[in-house]
Symmetry: C3
Subunit: 363 residues, 3 copies
Amino acid sequence: MTYTVKEIAVALGASAFGATDILITRAAEPAMAGPDDLALAMSLKFAESLAEGRARVAMLWEGADWEALGLEAAIIAPRPRFAMAGLTGMLDQGQGYATGIHPTAFVDPEAVLGADVSVGPLAVISKGARIGAGSVIGPQCFIGWNATLGAGAYLREAVSIGARVTIGDRFIAQPGARIGGDGFSFVTAEPSNVESVRKTLGDQGDAKAQDWTRIHSLGSVTIGNDVEIGMGATIDCGTIRDTKIGDGTKLDNQVHMGHNVVIGRNCLICGQVGIAGSATIGNNVVLAGQCGVNDNIFVGDGVIAGGGTKLMSNVPAGRTMLGYPATQMDKQVEGYKALRRLPRLMRDVVELKKAVFNADKDA
Amino acid sequence: MTYTVKEIAVALGASAFGATDILITRAAEPAMAGPDDLALAMSLKFAESLAEGRARVAMLWEGADWEALGLEAAIIAPRPRFAMAGLTGMLDQGQGYATGIHPTAFVDPEAVLGADVSVGPLAVISKGARIGAGSVIGPQCFIGWNATLGAGAYLREAVSIGARVTIGDRFIAQPGARIGGDGFSFVTAEPSNVESVRKTLGDQGDAKAQDWTRIHSLGSVTIGNDVEIGMGATIDCGTIRDTKIGDGTKLDNQVHMGHNVVIGRNCLICGQVGIAGSATIGNNVVLAGQCGVNDNIFVGDGVIAGGGTKLMSNVPAGRTMLGYPATQMDKQVEGYKALRRLPRLMRDVVELKKAVFNADKDA
Amino acid sequence: MTYTVKEIAVALGASAFGATDILITRAAEPAMAGPDDLALAMSLKFAESLAEGRARVAMLWEGADWEALGLEAAIIAPRPRFAMAGLTGMLDQGQGYATGIHPTAFVDPEAVLGADVSVGPLAVISKGARIGAGSVIGPQCFIGWNATLGAGAYLREAVSIGARVTIGDRFIAQPGARIGGDGFSFVTAEPSNVESVRKTLGDQGDAKAQDWTRIHSLGSVTIGNDVEIGMGATIDCGTIRDTKIGDGTKLDNQVHMGHNVVIGRNCLICGQVGIAGSATIGNNVVLAGQCGVNDNIFVGDGVIAGGGTKLMSNVPAGRTMLGYPATQMDKQVEGYKALRRLPRLMRDVVELKKAVFNADKDA
């Protein structure tokens, strides 16, 4: 994978300057760049360390003076962060998985594989599973009974997908992603303490000793096109209908998605977010790392929540949220500030009491 | 798996009305139900969408007028949520795992398998492991050296169980559940900054550069009967004695259980809860999603904690807890309200200061 | 693995007393100790339960009167907690993995294995991978293309390591640890709502419907010597350079490490901690369970953070932190106390208002 500066610029819809026939083999940070690397210096701050490395070519910000930086060539993209997507896609060496069906894989004779599907060593494709054309099933993956994957899937090692899961095209799963466990849904023969707390918020006195009986998940999981699931993320089946993820939504590592959850299109769900059963998330929602979403609530389109936010009740569309319990971000920040002023407020009140009530006494 | 309306009602201990010989193949939400489905409409709200579907039969709440809803038959259960457990158990199609020992599995000749045990493709059963009768060991599972599983276990794909782990009957593990890692226990040759912080709560000034030496886990994990462990959950071994889970307790996805933790009977530990080393949890405890339990503390019987609660110190039996740090739920809610009124309180104090101290000056 | 009392004391640099030729087969808690066990009673509290067991030998605290406790022999170590490391190392029975290359493992002919490397059943070693001498690759592990492990690695079952990952000597990975997923880095063609929120903290009104395009990870992961990674932990690749972990650092179960994160030497990162992309952590840092670290921030050497702490901005070296958002621990505790006094403060202000403003009216 070697490209000329010009080829890269064309692919990115960017402009190339100088010796545009220099060959590029990798991208590098400015200080670590060698003579065949494309240094990434998309702001003045990064450009300053160009001198520490040996780069001849760099990707720069609009308006940068590449010659003054001592470069032989430069690429200038109108939105450098977006150009990074194209550039890293071109230069990605991938995982080096072999093509074809590995002899140690177990593919059930009743599985249906499209054209040019690769299956890695010690992977399992179960009866009735359907894998779309051009898909890569990584080493030690598991595809369950009657599961369906669209075209162009890319599954890294040790991914597992349960029975009857349906997934669209261009699906990406990182190592150890798990789809299609049974939902966490249990019930007691008599009303439980939890049902009672939901009404009273109070202590329950003596604990009742009750057995929990499993409610099985009859639904499965339906996932749209262009979805990506992170390492160790877990997605439960729905109880009656499927748990759902819309087109273009991305889940980071260790995201937990309970039964019946519905997530819309083009959401970003960051690391270790947990979404409890039957919550509904709109489109274009961004939940930062370690957010929590309460069961059975609704989160509107375009909601953005900062790191660690716990959404305890419905959130209208367009809100920016923070905190535990979550409020609008600016109110939460105002609350943090007030809390820091609280010790001084308490001293003020002590002074006031002295002045007002002692004065009374003196009078 | 097809049942008459009558058969289902009998199995659930419920009453059947109307054309009770109609055959049912699946359960469905009212709006999506077809003519051979049992629509689940256990409250008035759900019954309203029956008209959008084509259901002839529904499961309804006590006192519902099934004929007025245009149905040909109905099942009415005294506690519909509990009836869901029986119903979904009857209609669960399962994962379609083949029976018998798959030829690609590796079963050590010194492992002992009970009658009618199934072992999936590419699973590993180690030397000295004992698997109870009727158990299903899913694809790509790993059962360690001298581990013991009781009768009727059901392990989904990619579950791993370490050496010397002991598990009771009817154990269920969801995909990628991990039992029997070494505990996270390290020590420095000289007292560490952490030991010092536990005494002072203050800053430690210069960081000491100390190496951490591992304390190995000599104990393993002991799990009772009727326990279930979620996808990606992880349970550490104990240091000297075993880490323990009592009968009937259920762990959701991505639960973390540290070394020496003891959990009692019939607890529900929801998604992403973390329980630090040597904590002790009583019976019938419910910890909602993303709760945390501090190391070495005690959580009494019947304690219920809301989502995201961090239990930092011992909790007496019967308490309902919320927040970080956790307090009783009603006090926490009162605190949230007070915090929201804080800006107004601050303005009041400013007014008071003006009135009291300026008045003094004027006098 | 049987040792005399004397052999154990010598190995631990401790003193032995009494019948030091008694043979020890295991360690045990005092109340559960049998006659061939070494009871661990390193404080008076534990020594009290010696009478409930049948121990003849115990490990005791400095100054303990072993004869008065009815023992036949005793080991006394100057720092008993540190002696636990040596003792548990001696008595650890391990996982019973067989030595050699298991016939069901798939080792690519172009992989390079050092002397005395063991590879468990159904493990995969990819092309160009290099495994240092004496390493143990557990059952069902995956080692990716051109990955490098140093000498003396110990990988439990189902660990996966992606392409081009580089790891030092004496690496330990618990079951299901995952290294080398692609980073969670996405960009929109036009500036996104998230970029806008970082500037304003405010609501974003109408959600823009934008697609996310992946920024590929061209970097990999570099890990030093003596590092340990817990069950289900996930470590992402860097975007351009490698994500990094320094010598002697230990990660607990379900830790999430985003792309480009750099962690220094001898840190303890406890269960379920999440570290967002491009954060930098110093040396000797301890993050207790469920901590979160914001993206792009810096955490100085020797910082200690209590359970559940969310570090939202840079933390200077040596600080002890707590809370969400994190502050210095003593200030956080002061804040909790103030919050609990808030309802009383509010009543005081009501009284003051009555006294001041009604008094005015009366005057």
